[in-house]
Symmetry: C2
Subunit: 452 residues, 2 copies
């Protein structure tokens, strides 16, 4: 038979079982954390009509899109989870209750240049709160609190959620008479971390943006405001009274920073940062980025913000909202690269491997059934191999426990429970073995997928 | 602004939140059940190279495939989870430990004719056990036991897993000297339920298949063997000694039926059924179908079997296996149509809706944080609406509990917990409220997603 060489497309993540087990834990942690805050799960198709998906049109994204025809239909694969959400809310407006809070963890597709750590198929994990006409400011404080709990549940500690408000930025640029160039300026200021203040100043006064040197200095002075949240807010008060939008933004930022501790976020994990702008034009209020303190080179691992019109391309209903997105596949890849995924997590297919050492398997099968009835994840090994091969299988997959069943055990109606970590072996009834495994695993329940 | 009419492609399931909550529970039940038996999770790309995906080539499936080019690449969307599994095992053969047990729940794509209840994007939920060269017969008994537990956990009771063995069928046809036409005969016999024995006989002796009338009668006699599992096995013993393959198949069927009760499957939920053949040529041993006793018109809701060569198109390694697949999207659709999804399941985004009735929100936010810290799924309602609108939101989404926080409550540092089912209202501290909700929900833990 002619054989085809098996391969997986480049830019498509496909993990080996132990890593996949960590990824599964990752996603389960996200689902649980989002559910704790009252978000409903959503699952939209991966394929949409191109007309619908590209309603907004244009931009860099369009070139990267997987688009094709099937029969008469012009189809495309979703490139984010926001456009499908907008479609969903516009389509089901009459059936939904607002605020509508949904999470979605799903694959999206972008035909990026193949490159190490860049993915063409990747998971995004999004949460959004959509209001009908209005949405209270508390939601803008709640979103980062969810991210705080999620990352903490994953095991991260040294991270900071950076918060800013687009109204403050737009108001400030309006004060300087630079409203029309605010977009260009923000995109330039966004490079501050990478190229430094000197280069930013050069670009601002250079040919393309061409703002007066005095204004450039004023901008650099503004974005260099640093300190505790209280200090930054105090400095911002110095600009109050000159522009309504600015003042509104400052009030919002004050409200968000005041609510954050009540939502359970420690002061150490959030920071007002005037350099955060977010590239997308549709953010209109609070904006977020999240950085790992020990790995600034990774950039933001979770970003989002407040927008005024989720679905303007589909409906005339005003649907303001706030949302945030984790690029799950890339984050997982980076954590793996940095050696930040825990080795303590059980990645075996089960917690117990039952190894029969006799030809008759009935007692082993019954024992496996007893363990499963007690809720213990149990695999039965029934291949006819030497004892050594069976144990090496258990070792290779990392089962925490092995249950050995030989003739002696069967005669006594008992099993030998071997702790693969300590090597200790105990003779127990199947029920006792199930209880012992459950007790041992309960102690490991707090193992987090990320170690820091 | 010119608006695009929002729509979802026909043949693509997109559920409203309450139904999606049921689907999520459905999938979570599957994941837990599979994990209990020691299956590792797998996640392969939705897009593969066409060359790899269509290695087997030909057939009805190829016409339905979503295939397109991106740059220089000829790509296709997976149409099942078996081909990607074969690719994965061949590709990672050296890194895997065998038997390799994996489950995968994922979307697959087939451009079927659009029709009510037919889906172009649908979930399959597959489990497979792959051996390296050999695989013990116990796996063929374990697979239906997993299906039994899974369906039971979902809430189904009146279902039967029908078991047969291809060696028995092939051996029987060999006895009749009909080996070469065994495929045609089995495909015809497969229609027995739909067209009845008379029609089957007509087709068998008709122009196309053209077997002698005596042989047709023999076949009909064979497949009409009915009774308890013991009775059917006893009747099959009457054919023993005439064909080696038949005898081997009978031994396997005896082993499988003997192990099934030890794996915890009650006699009422499995049946030896000689009419089960499964269309696919690659099954070589035990085969399964699963029927809802009260809805035979639905057909098999879960099918599979034993095969000898998982990955022959990619590798010369012999990789025998056994697997079974649930067509999740179709099953969910059918259960929904039949009114078999439970209404008792909480489909609200959270278990508690915190409703502040004052302008200051601090105590409400802190209370929500307390509840979440105690593991209670809590949503905070902070929109400035009339009390009636807030309660109608709680009603519409079906929150089991509402926490009311007015000035009286704040003054006492307490909250009013309202049970939305009974209407009872109790004044409690936030900690007490969390405990009360947890206790109430613990009682509902056994609610199944399917009611029968």
């Amino acid at each position: 038979m002619e054989r085809i060489k098996p391969r997986t497309l480049s830019g498509f993540m496909e993990l080996l079982p132990a890593d996949q087990a960590k990824m599964e834990r990752f996603m389960e942690t996200l689902r649980r954390s989002y559910a704790l805050y009252g978000f409903t799960a959503l699952d939209t198709p991966i394929i949409e009509s191109s007309e619908v998906l590209l309603a907004k049109g244009g931009g860099e994204t369009e070139k990267q899109i997987y688009r094709f025809t099937k029969g008469d239909s012009d189809l495309a694969l979703r490139f984010d989870l926001t456009v499908p959400l907008a479609k969903y809310v516009a389509l089901n407006y009459g059936s939904l209750a607002f605020p509508f809070r949904r999470y979605q963890i799903g694959k999206v597709y972008r035909g990026e240049r193949a490159q190490r750590g860049r993915f063409r198929e990747f998971y995004q994990a999004d949460i959004d709160i959509i209001g009908d006409g209005k949405l209270d400011i508390t939601s803008e404080a709640e979103i980062p609190s969810i991210i705080y709990r999620t990352f903490t549940a994953l095991g991260l500690r040294r991270f900071v959620i950076r918060v800013n408000n687009r109204k403050i930025l737009n108001g400030f640029y309006a004060m300087q008479g630079l409203s029309e160039r605010a977009g260009d300026i923000m995109r330039t200021v966004d490079k501050l971390d990478k190229i430094g203040p000197e280069k930013v100043r050069e670009l601002l006064i250079g040919e393309e943006i061409a703002i007066p040197a005095g204004a450039a200095d004023e901008i650099l002075r503004f974005i260099s405001i640093r300190g505790t949240n209280a200090e930054v807010l105090a400095a911002l008060e110095g600009y109050r009274g000159k522009n309504e939008l600015f003042d509104a933004g400052l009030d919002e930022l004050r409200a968000v920073t005041a609510y954050l501790p009540e939502f359970g976020v420690p002061e150490a994990n959030f920071a007002v940062d005037l350099t955060i702008a977010r590239g997308l034009d549709y953010y209109t209020g609070t904006v977020y980025e999240t950085a790992l303190l020990d790995h600034p080179e990774i950039g933001s691992i979770c970003s989002g913000g407040r927008y005024d019109n989720l679905a303007e391309y589909y409906t005339d209903k005003a649907l303001p909202g706030v949302g945030i997105s984790i690029g799950l596949t890339r984050l997982f890849y980076v954590l793996q690269e940095q050696g930040m995924l825990s080795d303590e997590l059980v990645t075996a297919p089960a917690d117990v491997l039952v190894i029969p050492m006799t030809d008759t398997l009935s007692f082993a099968v019954q024992t496996a059934t007893t363990l499963r009835n007690a809720g213990v994840r149990t695999q039965l090994y029934t291949e006819q191999k030497k004892f050594k091969a069976k144990m090496s299988y258990a070792d290779k997959l990392g089962f925490p426990f092995v249950l050995l069943i030989g003739e002696d055990e069967i005669a006594q109606g008992k099993v030998s429970l071997k702790d693969m970590h300590t090597g200790a072996q105990t003779l127990l009834t199947p029920d006792e073995a199930a209880a012992a495994v459950r007790a041992a695993l309960a102690q490991k329940e707090n193992v987090r997928v990320i170690r820091e």
